[in-house]
């Protein structure tokens, strides 16, 4: 029986952005009829601003594949290509109010279609998008894709890798390889997390990285809650910020500052402390 959210059902029964754009600026095609689902994404892109002005899809697949396609097109319309590429399969699933675990591969397919379309627009060959060796013959899944999906979705089990990529869901012949990849990824992760040999950054590099981290990692989160952040100054290892919008007076401000600090420590430098102006 289907355990779909009302949102999935609604977007399956009443999909949005169905069709193909005439003379599209970008086309992304992923999946195949053999595997049971496929998505063709066409985009209209403003060449000046690199903004996606229109997005349409055609999808062969089950209800969650069709709903994921609507979610994808709704999420990327009006965004610049870079902004759009920041969307993850989790955003697609979240847009739908969640997907059954074993249907997560539908959200991954949506993300891949976007990647393929952007690669197509930028004149890269689609094969450059997904390098690596085929691990799962049944569904044509590469080790690169498996690795990426494992990391992005913090997957720990073969079953989940199958849920998210389909790999392993056919003859099962590739399951030992998937197990190996899982071990590798998490072993690497552990090393990274514990020793993390960081290059010493020059002051300029550090400032740039702090700015980038705030832009890419922190601001979107705050904006989602109607808040905002401004970087005031960087003094040695002190990062001085000011919070805007609902964040300011909010009881959570303290927590927010702690979280920002944690992110910056993790991504830039252990020594950083965050202060509010």
């Amino acid at each position: 029986m289907w355990e779909y959210t009302d949102k999935v059902k609604d977007l399956f029964l009443h999909p949005k952005n169905v069709g193909e754009i005439d003379n599209p600026d970008a086309v992304g095609e992923v999946g195949s009829i053999v595997c049971g689902d496929a998505l063709k994404l066409t985009l209209k892109i403003d060449r000046e601003t690199n903004r996606i002005t229109d997005a349409k899809f055609k999808t062969f697949g089950c209800a969650s594949a069709i709903a994921s396609s609507t979610a994808l097109t709704e999420l990327i319309k009006g965004k610049t290509l870079d902004e759009a590429l920041n969307i993850t399969n989790q955003d697609i699933a979240a847009f739908l109010g969640g997907l059954p675990r074993e249907k997560m591969h539908c959200s991954v397919m949506g993300y891949e279609a976007l990647e393929a379309a952007v690669a197509n627009y930028r004149g890269e060959k689609p094969c450059e998008v997904e390098e690596g060796e085929i691990v799962c013959m049944c569904f044509g899944v590469t080790d690169q894709k498996i690795k990426r999906v494992i990391m992005e979705n913090k997957l720990r089990t073969v079953e989940d890798v199958t849920n998210f990529t389909k790999a392993g869901g056919g003859c099962g012949g590739c399951i030992p390889d998937i197990e190996k990849i899982l071990k590798e990824v998490w072993a690497e992760k552990v090393i990274e997390e514990t020793v993390k040999p960081r290059k010493k950054l020059t002051n300029i590099q550090k400032i740039a990285l702090i700015q980038e981290t705030i832009e890419k990692e922190i601001r979107p989160l705050l904006q989602a809650d109607n808040g905002d952040i401004e970087l005031i100054d960087i003094d040695g290892s002190r990062v001085i910020i000011s919070l805007r919008g609902t964040c300011t007076g909010c009881l959570m401000a303290d927590v927010t500052v702690k979280n920002i600090e944690k992110k910056l420590k993790e991504l830039v430098n252990e020594e950083l402390v965050v202060e509010v102006e």
Partner: protein, 389 residues
């Protein structure tokens, strides 16, 4: 909204007569049939009546029937018994399109050192009897082949198969779960050693099935315990369901005689109607030797789960062999074995009718189905030139 139930190969509605017959055993007649007192003993008598009724449906003798809990148990019991009774033989023959109850049992034994021959089928879902003949060896412990396929509805030439198997003196088990009640079966004319049949596929309740064991055939019980079923299947009887199964068998037998071709005609109407309104559907399976109630149709370039969910909006129940509905990521093993092309395999829909199916229901499906296929084809990146009229 009224439910239009066209998924009768999955399970069926409990017939009113069956339910009525069962009710006393769920209230005042709760005695244990093994008890010495009259209160329990009278229950036992009714189990024996049910045994006669079930036996009559396939023209067996009552003592050749044991009751089990489900079709899977009957299948497992039959195979296990055959292997235990001939433990020096290490070869099993079955087909690629069996129900998982047989298929996975055989795969398990294969891991334990048995050699298993999975006979292939052709495009029409048919077996090549020469391959069966060639596969039989002195080491063959048992042959297990279904009477009719649950997904495609294809009926195997079971009499010819039985003749070939018995000519080599090998025990033969038939999984007749989908065939019983739908077509006449006569074990007196069919040389098999065991046959599995199930209650809930023929308007009895869930939780009851039977295994026919030919008189004189070697048998080793699977469930060990008390002396129930003459020591051939231990465990306190599911009295209410067994009594209901008896009534259901009686009803099925009557309907087989009186109903004529009504279900077949409705199915033909459904098929014909879909062919007239949707371009390029394809019937999966032999057009001639098919169960009268089953049709398996593929609509190319659309996906089965999507079709089912759209049908579900109108309370129409059917099933599909697509990957998304198979519970795994691979489409139906039956359709794959038949070499149904991938463009069609994911878009397969099975409608299975019953004697309760009405013409209005078929008309309703014929009204709803074409726009559904049309909508989904418009969504699909493939086969854009196809659309329903």
């Amino acid at each position: 909204m009224k439910v239009v139930y066209l998924d009768n190969n999955a399970t069926t509605k409990v017939a009113d007569e069956v339910r009525e017959a069962m009710l006393p055993y769920l209230s005042e007649l709760y005695g244990n049939p093994s008890s010495m007192h009259t209160f329990g003993g009278q229950v036992h008598r009714n189990i024996e009546i049910a045994r006669e009724q079930v036996a009559a449906l396939i023209n067996a003798e009552p003592e050749e029937i044991i009751f089990t809990s489900c079709g899977t148990e009957s299948d497992n019991t039959a195979l296990m018994s055959a292997l235990l009774s001939r433990h020096d033989k290490k070869h099993i023959i079955t087909t690629r399109v069996e129900h998982p109850a047989v298929l996975n049992f055989c795969k398990t034994t294969a891991r334990e050192g048995y050699r298993v021959t999975f006979l292939p089928v052709d495009k029409g879902g048919r077996l090549n009897l020469e391959e069966l003949r060639a596969a039989l060896t002195d080491d063959t412990a048992v042959v297990s082949i279904m009477y009719a396929n649950n997904e495609s509805g294809v009926i195997f030439p079971i009499h010819d198969i039985a003749d070939i198997v018995k000519s080599k003196g090998v025990p033969f088990h038939i999984d007749a779960v989908q065939a019983t009640g739908k077509i006449p079966i006569d074990v007196k004319k069919l040389p098999c050693d065991m046959m599995s049949i199930s209650g809930h596929k023929m308007h009895a309740a869930k939780g009851v099935a039977a295994l026919y064991i030919k008189r004189g055939a070697r048998f080793t019980p699977y469930i060990i315990g008390g002396h129930q079923e003459h020591g051939r299947r231990a465990g306190t009887e599911n009295v209410a369901s067994i009594v209901g199964f008896g009534v259901a068998s009686d009803l099925a037998k009557k309907h087989l005689q009186t109903e004529g071709t009504r279900i077949q005609d409705l199915k033909d109407k459904l098929e014909q109607g879909l062919f007239n309104t949707c371009p390029d559907p394809r019937i999966n399976g032999d057009m001639v030797n098919r169960l009268p109630n089953t049709t398996n149709i593929s609509f190319e370039y659309v996906e089965g789960e999507a079709i089912l969910l759209k049908l579900n909006e109108f309370n129409i129940c059917a099933s599909s062999g697509s990957a998304c509905t198979s519970g795994s990521l691979e489409p139906s093993h039956v359709l794959r074995s038949m070499g149904v092309p991938f463009t069609a395999i994911h878009g397969s829909v099975r409608f299975s009718l019953s004697r309760y199916t009405t013409e209005e229901e078929i008309d309703f499906v014929l009204e709803k189905m074409p726009p559904i296929i049309k909508e989904l084809r418009e969504l699909s990146p493939y086969g854009t030139d196809l659309a329903c009229h």
